[in-house]
Symmetry: D3
Subunit: 132 residues, 6 copies
């Protein structure tokens, strides 16, 4: 159960309402996800968070699907239930089928393990990363 | 400093040597990365780990670059220095430039933060993930 | 569902009962939180844990609210549901309103992200921390 | 060693230079921390990150020292070396002495442990968080 | 709620069915745990994961109980609910009583805390690990 | 580099000196590990931490080696360099050879991966943990 009262679309007004509308339009969904309704208790923080997310998730050198795949890999690694559900829905909407999702999970599985092997043996870098 | 003596290519023999050769050929590199030299202290574990990695990282529905991007996102989230250096080198070799790397890092930054917002407010899923 | 049977206040006796009473008195609450009822299955461990917590959470150079804020920031970062609920209740009882809670969460969000930026770019310290 | 070439103050121009100046002025320091020099490889991401940090770290209902304490608690929990050094320097500059720092660390120690006790016993929340 | 449709024992055929039978036989249980029913959506990944687990969890220099204790300590540290339930059941089946479980949890509690003390003070290793 | 000046054995006096002596005697080593020299900046916190560690690490239903194995598994999972070095030295001193260490690491690798598989698929517990 959320630790603050969520601001519903009906209660929203002014800046909060504008951002709620922009969220639905940008994400092409017909509801405001709960995390934004919670952030709306601090309108300035809602605004700066939404602006940052909108800028970062816009297609650039990486396309939207790749960005959502990264978001899902991070959320699985951190074990955030809300986020896993949300980004799993997003990658499926963008065309990833269950088999491809299984490949994504296999890579996340593998390197969460390998990260610990490198920790355990206190492995030193093979080569210095090349600066450009 | 590593917590076990690494097995060098010169010392390797039998199954270990075969796997070392396969690692260099598969990854198209001219040295055996340190993590595999450490794993070589337990040849059976080396074998099963390499086989799993080789199978999972082969191109499938997701291509190799996407898989390396996931590996890097996981390693950054876990803060594994060896792994970050190794997968940064890999994504650059596969064509990601510094600007695209910056986009990858921006998404990792964003969702490591958002994961905690969802935790903090104990947000409940918006919609049930659709099974197929 | 808990993995051990919790020891209720009715079942408690001896050292466990004394500690249960001390917990309620020290925290000024009228129930024993579930985590202590679980620890009561190992009375010595219950005792040493409660003594450590009581000593550390007593006001010192940092006041109780600051200490509870730290506890909440840690619990959010680790994604511990029980702990987030418990420490959110504690900071509210000590006077933090929803707006201040939003500021706390914003800082936790920000630096869980920035921690990964520093990881990703393998940033070296700017200055050596000054010893005193 | 950083995985990208840091942008020095001498190399900075345009938007990047403006932000570098604002960072030094806002933080009242005479150098640009390395993390910002790395972010400068993606000027738009530098800008949005700095704007978010500046807005969130400004004194509000929580003062600056409390916000830096939260930042340090998060960084210790995540084990980010660069961030621990940076925020330890910041809390000392804002007046926290070594004894108070020891108290902060004690609370971080305690609840990283208690978070796992709650996980281990699968403890359920005591009371529903009160919405307001 | 799972994000993919689990493959039931009734639906399983071919390689998946063989592995399901082997899982039940090897673990001496009369049902297939849900995690394997999810992995069955990618049969090759199911196979390689099961083979790796079977090889690693077989008694070697460390016995099965010690291996399950490690698995539980890792799962508690990561806060994985499914895994904590599963490995708690396993260690109990192998003979660990609630008092011993309490000792295990106490050690996990202690060092999740001590790990952060070492992080916080940026402690350097006392001695170089001895290579052999 | 440590963020506080470590208290050397020569500088220690009173309670701190007594605890330093007890640490060396209990752990059967001829030096005081750096983490305790850092904790000595807050003598009360040093005392309560040492007492808790001494009580928890004493042989009980689990022997000392099993407890050190758990400590190492936790430290690898969290990626704490100081702690990995320290607990690797401890398990080797208690008789674990490099092959057995490799088995320990294999289990830690495996379940850090499997924890994420369970997260990713949002797997629900198979059976309710049996209370006793």
């Amino acid at each position: 159960m959320p630790t603050v009262k969520l601001i519903s679309e009906e209660e929203a007004s002014g800046k909060v309402l504008e951002i709620f509308e922009d969220i639905k339009k940008t994400k092409q969904i017909d509801f405001v996800p709960n995390v934004w309704k919670a952030l709306a208790t601090n309108p300035d923080y809602l605004e700066i968070t939404w602006k940052k997310l909108k800028a970062i998730m816009a297609p650039g050198k990486l396309d939207m699907l790749t960005k959502e795949i990264i978001a899902l890999a991070v959320s699985i690694t951190n074990g955030c239930t809300y986020c896993i559900n949300s980004h799993t829905a997003a990658v499926k909407k963008l065309g990833l089928d269950n088999e491809a999702l299984g490949e994504l999970i296999a890579v996340v599985d593998l390197f969460n393990g390998m990260n610990r092997v490198a920790n355990a043996y206190q492995i030193e870098p093979d080569v210095k990363p090349k600066e450009e």
